[in-house]
């Protein structure tokens, strides 16, 4: 990689990265993932080449996840064993997802690849986001605590000799034959939309039966392993801009610690509220650019100005998603702090 491909950092770019890093860290510390969907396009908007933005984001992701996981482990919320079992297949899932991306790009070009990613965002986040929101609202209205889903109860009841593993912190005993595909799906989504946690956390909650606190904390272990593996891969190609990664980390470690502390002050369903809000706003953000990619593929006609407008609106919605998540977390923390 030639030195010319790395940008000159201006003061406003540094301030921007620190701020987005902090908010992304706050959301990550609280729901186990988040921030990447804004950080990568944010870096690209500063002139960073896409592949360097992805590589640098990964290089800040794994140390952030490490600090977040350590912090939440101290609060007794991390199931390291579950995280490592999930991570075992998350990495192959990530490589498989990257392979699909390359195939789509080769067959349908850049616009086709962007359309594929955006549709994956919209479909996955809309379905899972609405499901999580419905669950959060049900708990809020009934005033009940979290219940184990019917699916998770069935999964826990399935006995497959030689594959049963007890996960102490999550307080579940399930066959790893359910855990491994979930890890694979997490990795697959991580390489497609950069946030595997949007499948990993709901999967641990609704398929395996872990609580939202344990699922979101355990996701940080998976994020650490995937981030480390991804960083190594990109570092072998000389693509990591360590300055960008460490600048984002500067803000995000303040955020991830605050988000982790926040989980001890809020009612557990608040994790679901934040997750659903972020997922659904991001889904809207990506839905806005679908017509742009369809126009670029020649499927429909769209004026150049309309395309630019939709792209800007899409980015604004992504920032809004992160800001909304951060706002709900801080408000819930302050409410919980007053009642503590």
């Amino acid at each position: 990689m030639s030195g010319e491909s790395f940008i000159v950092l201006a003061p406003h770019s540094v301030a921007f990265l620190l701020l987005v890093g902090f908010i992304g860290g706050l959301v990550s510390g609280f729901i186990g993932s988040g921030g990447a969907f804004v950080l990568t396009p944010a870096m690209m908007s500063l002139g960073v080449p896409g592949v360097v933005a992805v590589a640098s984001n990964l290089c800040h992701k794994f140390p952030k996840a490490l600090v977040g996981a350590y912090k939440r482990h101290k609060y007794g919320q991390v199931d390291v064993k579950l995280g490592l079992w999930m991570a075992l297949t998350a990495t192959p899932g990530m490589w498989w997802g990257a392979g699909i991306q390359q195939d789509v790009r080769r067959l349908y070009g850049e616009a086709g690849s962007n359309l594929y990613v955006s549709l994956a965002f919209v479909i996955v986040l809309a379905i899972v986001g609405l499901f999580v929101l419905r669950d959060a609202l049900r708990i809020y209205r009934s005033g009940a605590v979290e219940e184990t889903s019917r699916l998770a109860k069935w999964v826990q009841s399935v006995e497959i000799p030689g594959t049963m593993v007890r996960f102490r912190v999550a307080d579940i005993r399930v066959s790893v034959l359910f855990v491994l595909p979930l890890g694979f799906a997490t990795g697959l989504l991580a390489s497609t939309i950069a946030v595997g946690g949007f499948v990993g956390v709901p999967g641990m909650m609704y398929v395996l039966g872990a609580s939202s606190l344990v699922a979101s904390a355990t996701e940080l272990v998976i994020a650490f392993v995937m981030g480390l593996g991804g960083t190594l891969k990109f570092a072998l190609g000389g693509l990591v801009d360590i300055r960008l990664a460490m600048l984002i980390l500067l803000g995000s470690l303040f955020g991830v610690q605050l988000g982790a502390i926040g989980t001890t002050f809020v009612k557990p369903f608040m994790i679901k509220v934040v997750m659903a809000a972020v997922m659904l706003i991001v889904a809207v953000s990506r839905a806005l650019v679908v017509p742009v990619y369809l126009a670029q593929l020649g499927v429909m006609a769209l004026e150049e100005t309309a395309m630019r407008l939709l792209e800007r609106a899409s980015f604004a919605f992504m920032v809004l998603a992160l800001a909304t998540g951060a706002f709900i977390i801080v408000a819930a923390m302050m409410r919980g702090y007053r009642h503590a």
Partner: protein, 86 residues
């Protein structure tokens, strides 16, 4: 109940160490970027090792920072994981 002493000293030491890491990184920006983007030998390990070092030093600082500000976890944080089985 007596309030625990705030870790001012630890925050200042870890904060100084964290600042030193960042100063060294940006004061030697050109050399760092030239070395850290090399693809031969053990050079690709440099970004990874640096990220680990920063997470240790800056992670310690940010932890003490919130503690000094009085933003600490609720002691019964784990109890919130309770669920009911119907």
């Amino acid at each position: 109940m007596v309030a625990a002493a705030k870790p001012w000293f630890l925050m200042l030491v870890s904060g100084a160490a964290s600042a030193l890491c960042y100063v060294l990184l940006f004061a030697n920006e050109k050399e760092v970027m030239a070395s850290f983007t090399r693809t031969d030998g053990w050079y690709p390990a440099l970004p990874v090792l640096t990220a680990f070092l920063f997470s240790l030093v800056h992670g310690a600082f940010t932890g003490y920072f919130w503690e000094v500000l009085g933003v600490v976890p609720r002691p019964s944080g784990k109890s919130a994981t309770a669920r009911i089985e119907d």
